[in-house]
Symmetry: D2
Subunit: 436 residues, 4 copies
Amino acid sequence: MAAGQKIHEFVETLTPQLIAWRRDFHKYPESGWTEFRTASLAARKLMQLGFTVVMGRDAVVAEDRMGLPPAEELARHELRAVSQGGDEELIKMMHGGFTAFWADMVCGSGQGPTIAIRFDMDANDCSESTAAEHLPTAAGFVSENPVVMHACAHDGHTAIGLGVAEVIAKFKDDLNGTVRLMFQPAEEGVRGAYPMVTKGVTKGVDVVLGIHIGVSAKTLSSLVCGISGFLATTKMDVDFTGKSAHAGSHPHEGKNALMAACAAATNLHGIARHGGGDTRITVGKLIAGQGRNVVPPNARLVMETRGETTEINEFMESEALRIIKGAAEMWGCTYAVTKMGAAASAPSDPEVAAMLAETGREMGCYDTIVLDETLAGSDDFTYMLEAVQKAGGKGTYALLGSPLKAPHHNDRFDFEETVLSRGVELVSRMIWKVLG
Amino acid sequence: MAAGQKIHEFVETLTPQLIAWRRDFHKYPESGWTEFRTASLAARKLMQLGFTVVMGRDAVVAEDRMGLPPAEELARHELRAVSQGGDEELIKMMHGGFTAFWADMVCGSGQGPTIAIRFDMDANDCSESTAAEHLPTAAGFVSENPVVMHACAHDGHTAIGLGVAEVIAKFKDDLNGTVRLMFQPAEEGVRGAYPMVTKGVTKGVDVVLGIHIGVSAKTLSSLVCGISGFLATTKMDVDFTGKSAHAGSHPHEGKNALMAACAAATNLHGIARHGGGDTRITVGKLIAGQGRNVVPPNARLVMETRGETTEINEFMESEALRIIKGAAEMWGCTYAVTKMGAAASAPSDPEVAAMLAETGREMGCYDTIVLDETLAGSDDFTYMLEAVQKAGGKGTYALLGSPLKAPHHNDRFDFEETVLSRGVELVSRMIWKVLG
Amino acid sequence: MAAGQKIHEFVETLTPQLIAWRRDFHKYPESGWTEFRTASLAARKLMQLGFTVVMGRDAVVAEDRMGLPPAEELARHELRAVSQGGDEELIKMMHGGFTAFWADMVCGSGQGPTIAIRFDMDANDCSESTAAEHLPTAAGFVSENPVVMHACAHDGHTAIGLGVAEVIAKFKDDLNGTVRLMFQPAEEGVRGAYPMVTKGVTKGVDVVLGIHIGVSAKTLSSLVCGISGFLATTKMDVDFTGKSAHAGSHPHEGKNALMAACAAATNLHGIARHGGGDTRITVGKLIAGQGRNVVPPNARLVMETRGETTEINEFMESEALRIIKGAAEMWGCTYAVTKMGAAASAPSDPEVAAMLAETGREMGCYDTIVLDETLAGSDDFTYMLEAVQKAGGKGTYALLGSPLKAPHHNDRFDFEETVLSRGVELVSRMIWKVLG
Amino acid sequence: MAAGQKIHEFVETLTPQLIAWRRDFHKYPESGWTEFRTASLAARKLMQLGFTVVMGRDAVVAEDRMGLPPAEELARHELRAVSQGGDEELIKMMHGGFTAFWADMVCGSGQGPTIAIRFDMDANDCSESTAAEHLPTAAGFVSENPVVMHACAHDGHTAIGLGVAEVIAKFKDDLNGTVRLMFQPAEEGVRGAYPMVTKGVTKGVDVVLGIHIGVSAKTLSSLVCGISGFLATTKMDVDFTGKSAHAGSHPHEGKNALMAACAAATNLHGIARHGGGDTRITVGKLIAGQGRNVVPPNARLVMETRGETTEINEFMESEALRIIKGAAEMWGCTYAVTKMGAAASAPSDPEVAAMLAETGREMGCYDTIVLDETLAGSDDFTYMLEAVQKAGGKGTYALLGSPLKAPHHNDRFDFEETVLSRGVELVSRMIWKVLG
């Protein structure tokens, strides 16, 4: 195929640039909602390539952002981003944690369909290994920022996004329709997709793609074209507030928040199984109390629910909220629930997965192409996919194979950079398949 | 003392009658709120002796009666009472469980103080032993009514009440003031005193006495003149109602009342200790569910709280009610709390106890006279005592010693009938001390 | 097909007999392990037809029988069975609840495969409707036994078993191999299959069939040829024993079994979800305590676990046992777990289901033939199927369609008797397919 | 009284020294088991005054020390003590947290009785106020050590101890018998008295005194001579260890320590009330889990039990240990209980309290002398008192009145230094009463 060959050859020339981008992002990792440097540089690049960029308060519903850090922390990271070479003008537009953006290129007559691809930008909250055998250390692009590290390949995803933008910019006249590149913050903790969706990022989208390096695709020649089994999930923090009292002399004057939290945790795990499909409930952390001898006036639960479908997760969430309310009531406490993240359960569409598989076969570099894989994790790309599906469109989530030096989220995580150019080529060819 | 001697001699002549009354009541025992025969015969006797009797709807606040049997059961026992020789005319006035009454005799000028004495009339829900060595069986006055038995000596208390009435009627001109004899239903389960108090039985009472045969006074020559330590108590039945569902196929459609009940029971027992005094919390019974394979839609707790003071018991009760509400909320259930009984914590007044002790000493038949004993049980006479104390009066609760054949509430319980005449004399002499 | 036609014509002649058998069994229903009349009459019939019958202590491992009624109850029902026309000689061999049996016919050379078919015989613990519009009442075969009723069609299954036996006996020379008819007691509560399997009922079986009238097949022309989704299950009764104490005066001397049961129930429902598949946990009943004012010394849980596979159910069961043990420990109680029933999760084999579907098509009377249906219930036929599968054989579970007057286990449950002859023909033709 | 006057006059001359000592200890506060500077300076002083000092491993049973800080922390504070002017030679003998000591002076013939007085030396874990109006700040003796502060007056107690030593040393020939001054570490958390008692500090003691500045005695002219109501107590930390697992994909592989901790906390609070007296149970802190999405493998409870008597507290402790064990069992976790502190419930002896009251009256400076006060707190001086009482001796615990600037344990706590000389005089006169 002429177009495929043309793309392949151009992407070959981009390879050094892709690696440079990825290493630059890797060196200055930024965690969820603080991707000021990463996002400002990427957005600037897309503007330069002729994309129309939607950003700042236009790119998210402000109050739908979950797990937003405190203002003071956002401000601190904003300053850091400037000091580390971020685009100061665009960072200003992102002030207060508005780091999401999307970029559109209307191609040809613009009459064709719209394809959207999601690239996530945030890093993980862990310290990167400084072992000599860890490539980023050896090659000088180890994280400069304390307790933040790209340990889930989002640096690579962002670089692939920029590469795809280069390809589109160069050959856009071959296409007919619209290409939307969606740069998402705060995928870790599944916090960033939902406010982009409620702001309209998926409006008018016919085909949507999400990509991820690695996961279960662990060789360069493997490609997973669709995912089912992502559980819908809701992440919540729950704070119970009671009243302290001297446990020796006036225990009856206290309102015991620890007991409320224990009643909640115990009964939450007892929520009925669902006849319609799989569920999960986890109170992952419980922190309560002030002293051995004080009726505990405070307790926090760090928890999540999951469900095989969005509806089943909604059942879990509403059961959980009622149990939390009842537990607070029991012990005379007040309580507050803060939603910290959420993802839907949308499974990939087999047609789009099949189209991606065909694209992969055409590239000739994949010997293991899986149409559908069941994963038990969560990625809030599912909110984008679900929104597109509900509006009549289709989409898929793909895994780009690469050997990994260590598991995701590990301090020695690293992938092979060859996956970057393959990812750019795969996504670009897929765009051609849809808009060509 | 001339009066004392006169009383003594007259009571001697009453002895066969006292025994006859006691055996008659024993043979036809009636449980709480169904004392139609006992109460109608006693009330008739008091009328014949010239007492003014307050009865029926005038003697209790109807809706304050706790643990009332169903209407059908009341009606059945009413019929039984008639068939067993009850006073049909008076039974009609007691229709619907209005078996409480009190009887006043204004003595002399009526200018003196008012003394009130409580006699309880109800029997226990147990089957009486038919062993040959059990006196009621041997002497032919064993219970004729199935699963009801006078196993707590209330038959004796009622007989003593009638004996005291005889003494008052005979010598009333020696006295100056008012004698009130209070015949209480439903002392078992502490259900009957409260609605008499709210109706006004203690209004204007200066001195109030409660008596009980046995308990810790276990010889004929022992007398306990006052009690402290009675815990205030509230008896409640709690019903949780949820929704059943097939536990295999549709567990998520159920509302699990069993889980609500377990959450309630577990957390109830965790109510904070009280810095101000002793407390108790007991869920004595829990009955929940319909089948192994059905999400349980129903659960009942049979429970009680106790407190060293009425206020501390109120703390326990309000904590309990909040926990029950929260437990229902947790599991999406509704609930109903039915108050089944209650007693206050009023301790005896030492002055009245001392006066009773003096009376006992004067009688010459007691060698062991205890001024104050600590008992952990409950008797809702405390409501009467508390009401009198709050209005500025005083009172005490006394134990009339007798050997017992078996513990209270046991199917072989029996006391020595000698205690009857001693009880009549003691109470009568005490009345003389107050009104003489 | 000549054989099919021959079977069809012979079964037509059996129809009045099938209905007569069914109505007779219906009139004298017997619950699990008390099927003395039903089993003795069926076994005698099979003997008369030339089958070799294995029964009594040879047909089950005695101690593997779950949920066995008390000896006294067994004895009472044994007498009833005799009085209602059971076969006295065979009932003697079933003394003590040994009502299982199987019957073998070696056909032709006997060199061919072995096919086994399960027929369950027990009735349900409910009172049958005596409404005029209820056919068994109208036609005079309503249950004569109080609180027992064939409300799950096992009367029909047993009649079909006898019908199949007639067919085999008549045409056995056409076949080559062994036909085993397995008459199972106590399917309700999934109690009877396991001890037959441990005794060897499935040894040497190549193909095994289970049948059930109705369930999700609700027209005479519908046939379901295989089932998946049966959850493995374990039924348990748990008794906690503590120590009673007066809750007012000596609460610290009690060992609170009610609290142990609540801790168990609450935490049982919190057993972790399983990553490998569906689970269920239900405490369907909790009965605890003696009186409002007594630390409860006794508590019973009536419960069950379920799992998508036998292994997952084993996980649930072992978690449950550990939690129960810990709950007893917590409250200083002893405990006893009685296994009341169990079933495996074996799914039907598609090849056998396909063969049955072909058989159904050949009969010409089915217009709706379903190869595989997912059911969430349990039937301990799965133990037989699992045992055959583990030994290299195959099998399926089929639903014979019939309109139902009311749901299974309802007091007006009734099916159309046409299903009896269709069932006999279907099973017989299937035997011909395997051994013909 | 001549002796009284002599003591009074000598103590007057000591006043500036008492204040200087108190301020020096206040400036260099040390928390439990790290009182290297305080103890070494005090011990050296006592040696210089001619007392025989028992210290280091001779003064405690090493393994009975509760709530000992880690070795590294002890070592760090040992170095700090040296750098802040502690007695290096004696600090070496206290290496590893052996900061307890006692000092004996045999007076006269030594034939008389033995009186022992306890002085506690440790400071609290809080940061001292640096507000200008806080006297220690204004006068330049505010704490130099971060997050440690004398906020419970133990600096004053130690200074009084040294003052008493001066008096004894000066006038010892007036006396006949033995004076033992016991300098206790780690009173906060009730950790230090028990290992001194097990080592023998109370052996041969006839009369024992404990003193405390402030508490409920809030004017300089008030003196409380005896305490009842101290609850016996046990302080425990409980660690549950389970197994982490991914809560989304493999929840069934985890062992949930958070659920074990919640089961424990919930059921601990449900331990039965005790018919014999007051109890308390408090889980003051619960810290569990690692991440929202991880089955929690760790949980810690920080808890305590209390009881009106040592026996009732032992009931609470043994119930608690069984519940903790059962909770761990329930959730397949291991657990470890670390005893962090303990105190007995010994009430003061009225005879000794009366003697102290008389002493106070003789001093003429007290207008409010209370013989017995009920306090709900704990002080492990009770272990010393209990040991003396069990051996036939007697003792009391006294409160030396002083206005307080803020409650005990508050960052602005301060007392009036006049109490120091009054304390020295009171204790000295009491010694004269016993040995004089």
